[in-house]
Every structure is written in C-alpha cells, then in structure tokens.
Amino acid sequence: MNRNSDFWLSLVVLGFCAVASVLTLDVPTNGTGGTVGPSFLPWLMIGGMSLFALILMWRSQRHAPAAMAPFGARLLTQLGGFLILMLLYAWAYEPVGYLISSVVFFVVALLVLGERRLLQLLLVPPGVVGSVYVVFAYAMQVYMP
C-alpha cells in the first residue's frame, strides 16, 4: 500500500455513502406518529460515515498511513478461486445435500491448497465430513440437508 491508501479508502466510503443515500430515499421518513421515522438512523449513519470519511481523507494528506503488505496478483487469484469454490459450495449445499457437496468441496479445496498425496485426498475428506455428519445429525439432532 502506498502513502495514499487511506485516501482511496475514504473515496470508497464516500461512494458507498452516495449509493446508500440513493437507496435510503426509498425508505419512509415518518414512522407511526413519531418524528423519528424508519429513515432517521440510516440518514444519521450515512451522514456520520461521510463526515468521518472526509476526516480520513484529510488525515491521509497529512500523515502517511502505516505500510501494508502488498497483494500479489497470484495470491489474489488464489484467494478469488477459493472464494468462488465457497460460493459454489453454498449454492450446492441444499440441493445436492451436505454429504456429497461437502466431500467434493473438501477434495477440491485440498487440491487448490496444493495437496497431492492420494491417501490424504481419498481418506481425509470422507472421514471428516462423515464424522461431522454423525455428530450433528445424530448426536445433536441438527437437520442436515
């Protein structure tokens, strides 16, 4: 991160506040008989966040923020890949069912993390997924899809 990371962050916060403001216009202003309606707190927070974002921006011009470790493109791709894997797992969790979706997720995740030992790939995922299933579904009586 360079000297102006907080500057860019403050811009992101201000952008978020702008979007939130547009969305808050749809929230009713008056509640049931009170002057404080459903949009009171959202407006208060949007105003406050904008104010503090401006302070952050002003501060970033005066003091350099502490240095942060940079994101490499490779690392970002790897993390993004894992996020997509988790999204797919969430999508498959109910329709495919816990057991199959979890074993597939576990195996693919191990592969993504660089595991290549066949025994680990074949034994660990069904072992972990199966024992978790027994604990939750039978011992705890938790519904598993």
């Binding site: 962050l9 404080v36 309606g37 952050l56 894992f82 598993m144």
Partner: protein, 496 residues
C-alpha cells in the same frame, strides 16, 4: 423454613448426574459454531418433561451454563465464536493461541467462567427479589441510553478512532436492513424476501471473524508461511491470576448486573466488561495482542449473565435473555408459573434451582479444566485440513440457525467484508458491537420517544437514563485522553 430439606435432594446421585450430563452437553453444543445454548435448551425441554421439576430444570440450567462457557473453546482455538456471547473472547484468546498459549487461554477462560458463574449464583441465591425490582425500572429510554453507552466502546476498542467509528456506523447501517422494528416498513430489501428479516446475527458473526480468518490462513498456506503452534500449560501462574483478579471481579459484577436487565444478554456484557477492563488497565495497549486479562474480562462477564438472567425470570417471571425465555417454557411445562408466587408456593423448586446453578458451574469448571488438553489438540491438526474443516463448520453452523441458504451468503458476504476490514485497518469488533447494539438503540429510542410524545426532556428524565447519558461522553473522551497522555509521556521520554 429448613433450607437444607430443599438443598439436600439436589445432591442425590440422579440429580447430580443429569446436571453433569447437561453441563457436558452444553459445553459441546457451545463449542460447535452455530449451535447456541438457546438451541441446546430448546432441544432438551421436551426430554425433561417426564422428569421431576428440580431434576429437569437443573439439567436445562446445566446446558445453559455449559453452553455459554463452551463458546470460548472455538473462539480461542479457531477464531470462530461458538456462541455470540464469546465473540469478544476472540480478541485476546486467539492471539494467545497463536503465541502457543492456547492451554493457558482456555485455562483462564475456564477459571473466569467459573468465577463469574459462581459469583452470579451467589447473588441470585441471596438477592434475587431485591435485584429484580431494579430491573423493572428499565424502560425504552433506559435501554436506549445503555445501548448508546455500549456503542461508545467502539472508540476505545478500535485503535484508530476514525476508522473504528466508520466501521461502527457501517454496522448500525447494516443492522437496519430488513423490516423496521417499529413500523414494519421495508428497508434496503430490494423486494427480496431473504432480506426481510435482516441479516441473521450468528452467520454474520461467523463470517466476520471465522471466514475472514480463513482467508488470512489461506494467505499463509499459499505463500508457504505455515508455522507450527504449540500447546503448553493450562494453569495461569499466580502472577497472572493476581494481574487478572480485579478484572475477574469487575467482569462478574458487570455480567450479573447486565444479566438482571431483561433483554440485553451475554454478548453485550462481555464487550462492556472487556472495555472496562481495558480502560482500568495500566497497560491498555496489550489488549488485543493476546493479553490474559482480556480473556478473563469477557469470560467472567458472559457466564455471570447466566445467574443474573435467572433473577428476573424467577422473581418476576420476566426472562433476562433468549435462553431464559426458553427456560421459562421449561418451567411452565412443569406447571410452574415464574414470579413472586413461585417463592411462596414452590420454595423447594426455587432453592433447588439456586443450588443446581451453583453445582452446574462447579461441573463446568471440572469438565473445562479436564478437557483443555484434548480441546487444544485441535491446533496440532495440519493447517490445510484444519482450515477446510473450519470452513465446513462455518457452513453447517450458519445453515443450522434458520435452515436457510441465504444465511450462507450472508456469512460469505460478511467474511469478505471482515477480511477487507482486517487488511485495511478497520475494526471488526466495532462492526460486531454495532450489529448487536444498533437495533437495540434504534428500537428503544423510537419507542421511548413515542411514549413521551417526542418530548426529549421527559425521555431523559429518569436517573438511570441520565446516568448512562452522562457516562457516554466520558466514555468517548477517555481513550482520546489516554492516547494523548501516552503520546506526551513518549515525547518526554524521548527528550530525556
């Protein structure tokens, strides 16, 4: 009344056995992310139906006490709060585990939980009717001022006050998603029914702390920076105990008082206790880096809530939190109406519950200390398998709350947000506190103003409201003053 004729039956082997089983079951339920003490008590209410009231209700109290304690195990070991009550324990418990002090962190958490629980059990047994009367004086204005005071914790916890405040305000804004608590008007739902009830708290919490940590762990795995964590020692030293003594007492008192106030809960108690401990400390900069009193503060407070929450339930028939609301159902199943008459008509049950609560805390201590070595072994599991297994638990826990896939996306969304916040120096704790206290502040402010026809003077008139409103600016100013004093000291030291 010969009190011993009511106490002695609790010490019969069958009652002791069900309390022990309840407490052990509670610890396991609490340690599993997504399974809360409320869920455990609710699951076992039907089982206790056929039991004698003292036996059945004490089993439920065992689950309650064990469940609140159990949450700290996963908080400390895998940075995944087992229950919302133990979210604050992550702050110092997990860094201690990363420093190779997982055993000690769990040891202190167990001792603190037992001290907090026993303290509130004694308070419950001796002062229940008198304290319950105090709880009745809390109306919307008092709840609002308490929530506002609680929100000021953000200032001292965030390190960077500007970024912490932004994170806190974002948390309050996110808590506004869904139906408005007073009018029912939809806010930011985009016409999608999944948003109507707002973001579910537990999946949000799991995402904020656990999923974000998974991303951090993935970074180290991808970059081959995996370090071996050791597990050594479970008992804190005398010096460490002495250092935490004041914190333990303070946490127990805060937890008991907050427990007595209906509807506030153990999550709020542990954050307030953590903040007060940090504020009173001579070394506040150590908090958040793996400091033992940080663990003592949160765990003593959240377990003290258990006894405190039983005070209004038994004395007035008002449940102190969600778990005691379910417990109230358990009492009613046994044909017992909680309230002042319970003390006159069923003294055996009341004394039995007081004694059972005390015993459950002792069992919790025994099981907790005996299990630490086994719990901590989780850190010895290879990092890749542990990280994926944690992800698995996160999914199961988030889904189990409402059996709703939307909660899984909520968890992932908050996970991504938490990761970004961690990378760019925004406090996740601030967002978490705001998610807890934001809705409480808003609903009570608006309800309170409606009650007094929007007259602010009448709204602020009660002594409790005034006290908290007066404490709020002081609480905000304190960390700023402390920071300035530290800077001055550093400047003086530099010139010498």
């Amino acid at each position: 009344m010969d009190i011993f004729q009511y106490i002695l039956p609790v010490f019969s082997p069958d009652v002791l056995l069900v309390i022990a089983l309840g407490t052990l079951g509670g610890i396991i339920i609490g340690a599993l992310p997504g399974l809360t003490a409320t869920m455990g008590v609710a699951l076992l209410v039907p089982i206790t139906f056929g039991m004698d009231p003292v036996k059945g209700l004490n089993m439920l109290i065992g689950i309650y006490v064990g469940g609140i304690y159990g949450g700290c195990i996963s908080s400390i070991l895998i940075k995944t709060p087992g229950t919302p009550a133990s979210a604050a324990t992550v702050l110092d418990g997990y860094p201690m585990a990363m420093k190779g002090e997982a055993g000690k962190a769990l040891g202190m958490a167990t001792i603190a939980s037992a001290i907090g629980g026993l303290f509130s059990a004694v308070v419950l047994a001796t002062l229940a009717p008198q304290l319950a009367a105090m709880a009745l004086r809390f109306g919307p204005a008092e709840y609002f001022s308490l929530a506002l005071f609680g929100l000021t914790i953000i200032a001292s916890l965030s390190g960077d006050i500007v970024k912490g405040t932004i994170a806190g305000m974002l948390g309050v804004l996110l808590s506004c998603v869904g139906a408005d608590p007073i009018s029912g008007a939809a806010r930011y739902t985009f016409g999608y029914t999944g948003f109507a009830a707002g973001f579910s708290f537990t999946p949000a919490l799991i995402g904020l702390f656990a999923i974000s940590e998974i991303f951090i762990q993935l970074e180290s795995i991808f970059e081959d920076r995996v370090s071996k964590v050791s597990v050594a020692g479970i008992w804190p030293s005398w010096t460490e105990m002495r250092e935490s003594a004041g914190t333990l007492l303070r946490g127990s008192i805060i937890g008991t008082i907050i427990g007595i106030v209906p509807g506030v809960g153990s999550g709020t108690a542990s954050w307030i206790s953590y903040n007060e401990s940090r504020r009173a400390s001579k070394t506040p900069e150590k908090y958040g880096t793996g400091h033992m009193p940080g663990v003592a503060a949160t765990e003593s407070a959240n377990n003290a809530v258990c006894g405190g929450a039983l005070v209004p339930l038994l004395a007035l028939g008002i449940p102190g939190d969600v778990v005691t609301a379910v417990l109230m159902g358990g009492l009613m199943i046994h044909g017992l109406a909680p309230g002042p008459l319970l003390f006159q008509e069923h003294p055996g049950v009341v004394v039995g519950l007081f004694t059972g609560n005390f015993i459950a805390n002792i069992f919790m201590f025994i099981f907790g200390m005996a299990g630490i070595t086994y719990f901590a072994k989780i850190l010895l599991v290879p990092k890749k398998i542990l990280t994926i297994s944690i992800a698995l638990f996160c999914f199961i826990g988030s889904y189990a709350i409402n059996l709703n896939v939307f909660d899984l996306y909520t968890m992932l969304g908050f996970g991504l947000l938490g990761y970004g916040m961690q990378k760019f120096g925004f406090s996740q704790a601030a967002l978490c506190i705001a998610l807890i206290l934001g809705p409480m502040a808003e609903a009570n402010l608006r309800l309170g103003l409606l009650n007094v026809d929007n007259d602010l003077i009448r709204f602020c008139a009660s002594p409790i409201t005034l006290l908290f409103l007066a404490l709020t600016p002081l609480s905000l100013a304190w960390p700023i003053l402390q920071e300035r004093r530290a800077k001055k000291k550093a400047a003086v030291a530099k010139t010498l």
